[in-house]
């Protein structure tokens, strides 16, 4: 995210606060990928839930448009709201004792979906990688929420430690530790799977 677009985001937010819905539409267009992607990964690859939570995030952003101060970088502010919505949703899910089942099924076609990189060529490799990915995804899902969020923001949204610290309302040292522990757990899970 460049400085220029950050200023632009702030302008769009002030226009939104003034009641300009088209300004908000631009923001949604710009950030829906990041918000949806984070929700999707945090909620264990469930499309419908990710969509609902992403929608909730944007509605909250809209409601809070008046309280946004350009001092905070927009992306960090947005990810803080995303984190709050995701954590609230996860708490709700925990209360309902819902269990996640892999693999992911496409809602429209009812077909199994895998979002592996296409660069994997042979069938055996693909199968092995698929298995590894499933192990990895399960391991990510079992990570504590803060560790998972920190890892996702760093790995997939390329946020720096300071931004993540602000999003998770913690210190930079703590973020580094969270990511280190998360990666360590994932490494162990993959190792254990390979041994078996």
């Amino acid at each position: 995210m460049t400085e220029g677009s950050a200023i632009n985001d702030a302008e769009l937010m002030s226009q939104t606060a003034a009641g300009d819905d088209s300004a908000f539409e631009v923001l949604v267009e710009r950030y829906q990928g990041i918000v949806y992607g984070t929700c999707y990964r945090m909620l264990g690859s469930y499309h419908a839930e990710a969509q609902d939570v992403a929608q909730m995030v944007f509605v909250r952003v809209y409601k809070a448009a008046g309280s946004y101060r350009p001092a905070a970088q927009y992306k960090t502010w947005l990810m803080t709201i995303t984190r709050n919505c995701v954590f609230t949703h996860l708490k709700k899910m925990k209360r309902m004792h819902e269990k996640r089942v892999y693999p992911v099924v496409d809602e429209e076609t009812d077909q199994e979906v895998d979002y592996l990189d296409d660069s994997i060529t042979t069938a055996t490799e693909n199968l092995q990688e698929k298995e590894l990915m499933q192990v990895l995804q399960r391991a990510i899902e079992q990570l504590p929420e803060q560790q998972r969020m920190a890892l996702i923001l760093r790995q997939y949204e390329q946020m720096d430690y300071e931004q993540i610290a602000r999003t998770l309302k913690t210190s930079v040292a703590s973020v580094k530790s969270l990511i280190f522990r998360a990666r360590d757990t994932l490494r162990s899970a993959v190792k254990a799977h390979k041994k078996n």
Binding site: A54, Q55, L116, E129, Q155
Partner: protein, 108 residues
């Protein structure tokens, strides 16, 4: 397993494309939110102004009273062609006759 290998694996986890209807759904939810907020604001404002509600009710009653009085004060506005009691009686009699004869035609 080293860091690079873990990164390679992690980077294979792709998310599906953002559904195209997400923006539409968000904007619809936002519009709904705006509408309900405006509605709530009006309801809240209205319920908080008891004095104003009483004042408006009184004004409506007063207006209705004034209208009634003004109508009573100017009966000629409603029948300008009737100038005397005799004429009024004549007009009533002719009207009644017409009515009675038309009833007769319809009934038999």
């Amino acid at each position: 397993m080293n860091d690079q290998e873990l990164d390679r694996l992690l980077n294979q986890w792709k998310t599906p494309d953002t559904p195209p209807w997400l923006k539409t759904k968000v904007m619809a939810a936002v519009r709904e939110e705006t509408d309900s907020r405006q509605q709530n604001r009006w309801t809240l404002w209205w319920s908080n102004h008891t004095l104003l509600r009483w004042a408006m009710a009184t004004a409506v009653i007063l207006l209705a009273g004034l209208l009634t009085i003004s109508v009573w004060d100017q009966p000629e506005n409603f029948s300008p062609e009737i100038v005397s009691l005799d004429e009024a009686l004549e007009s009533f009699a002719s009207f009644s006759n017409e009515e009675v004869s038309s009833w007769g035609e319809d009934s038999f």
